[in-house]
Amino acid sequence: MRSIKQPLFIAGVVVLCAWTIVPIYLVALGGLGGDQGVYTWPKPFWPLAWSAGNLSAFLTIQGIWPAMLRSVEVAAMCMGFSIALGTPAGYALARFAFRGANAYRLAILLTRAFPVGILALPLAVSYVRLGLYDTALGVALIHTALALPFAVLVTSSLFLGIPRELEEAARVFGCSGLSAFRRVVLPLALPGVAATAIFAFVISWNEVFAAAVLTVRHKTLTAFLLSVLSESPLQAQFTGGFLLIVPSMIFIFLVRRYLFAMWGIASR
């Protein structure tokens, strides 16, 4: 019995891995694999010639560079805001028992059970009035609304994991509250905070709907690709898709240790 089960189990794991990986390989092949790649029939499953030709052709598409830079700019801002606003709140939840803590935690959780992206629809109207429409800051703000609840919950679980006694010891030795935090807690929490920051970056980098609603001429990469979807050659679309995926794969690799802790805490 056991001898049949084990190979079946391994096969299942392998199939599920292939199910994730193979499509990524195929879009890379479609985007980068040889010049006539897209229109060849039947399609080859290995590259005719890996050429940088498609990639460089893609990068010369009018507006692609500014869009990529815009995406990085927006994501960096979103990352900064999420950490700056979320870390103090996470610390407060972890270290202080205060009236309203549960209400605050619940409010944070509630925003997650809500399609935040569609709030871009009314924001477009107020952004026009405020001069934020079509700006990187405007998009970064709504992306921060998406990422902030994660930042609060994750950093709070990080700080919970750092013994309070360390901080108290630092104070006994003459540190003020702030410098005890800066010299003792922060270095210990730093890897987790970095993971949170990366997660905020990815949330922003990937977001399509709000970015497309709130920009016209200064689009992020996702919004740009969406707007040229119907008129650009398939090859360019595949290259674009692959380029969107590459940073995400690296980021997920970097934060993989924190993913599960993040969601475990968040679901209680």
Binding site: V13, T20, R112, G117, P122, G177, V208
Partner: protein, 282 residues
Amino acid sequence: MRHLRLAPYLLIAPSLAFLFLLFFVPLIQTIALAFQSDAGPSLGKFDQMLGDLDFITAVKNTFGLAVVVVPLQFALALGMAMMLRKLRSGRDLVMWIWTIPLGISDLAAGLVWLSILTERGYLNTVLFHLGLIARPESWLTYETPAALFFAIVIAELWRATAIVFVILVAGVQLVPAEYEEAASVFGATTWQRFLRVTLPLLRPSIQTALILRTVLAFETFAVVLAIGGTTFPVLISQAFIWENQNQDYGTAAAYAVLIMVITLAATLAYLLALRPRAGEPA
């Protein structure tokens, strides 16, 4: 010590102010926009929405996708979480691979599956080599609605199963191994242990996963546009069209209100259906 009592409030104040301005205010604005007209409050924008030629199709498509995709994702993710628990070696690698889609945007996922399912794509190449088709067939047009629907289901399964998987694995890690050991000591089979011990203990994670995933299902936007273009309208893409192409913010807001009401109802339904039973810990 007075400043210490204030400290937590000072620490949460910035985030609270931010969420008030970028969550609560736009939420109220959405409702205001949807019920507004030149002549005061009205349901005119909802009439406009109901009169939209694609409205009924969009409702059907949106619910159809959610109803098919969410249970499949749940079953797949649960299976994957259980497999991961049994895995002895290569656990880290498998875990990374299975969570990669978590970081992939819905637009990229749509483009990935477009490359496979398009007329001269990889699926047709495989079918050709198997002798099932003689020349490139198109699957993603309005002439093949079932194939188009199926294509979007596959793309969604590929992209968004990872989030359910991660939440469930995080939940499994919090379940003490002793409970299952105790069950097997008392003679429970593997299947009984899974149904009677593991699954009930996972209830909070299952609840979170289902709520989150269902909310996201009603937001599915770029996958649909990348694969189906405008031939497969869903509620959120209609909201986008009313906002961006028709510049009718009120009708877009009416769609947004509808989506909010649906997701709210779904969340409440899950909270009720998966609430702790009598005698179970909360």
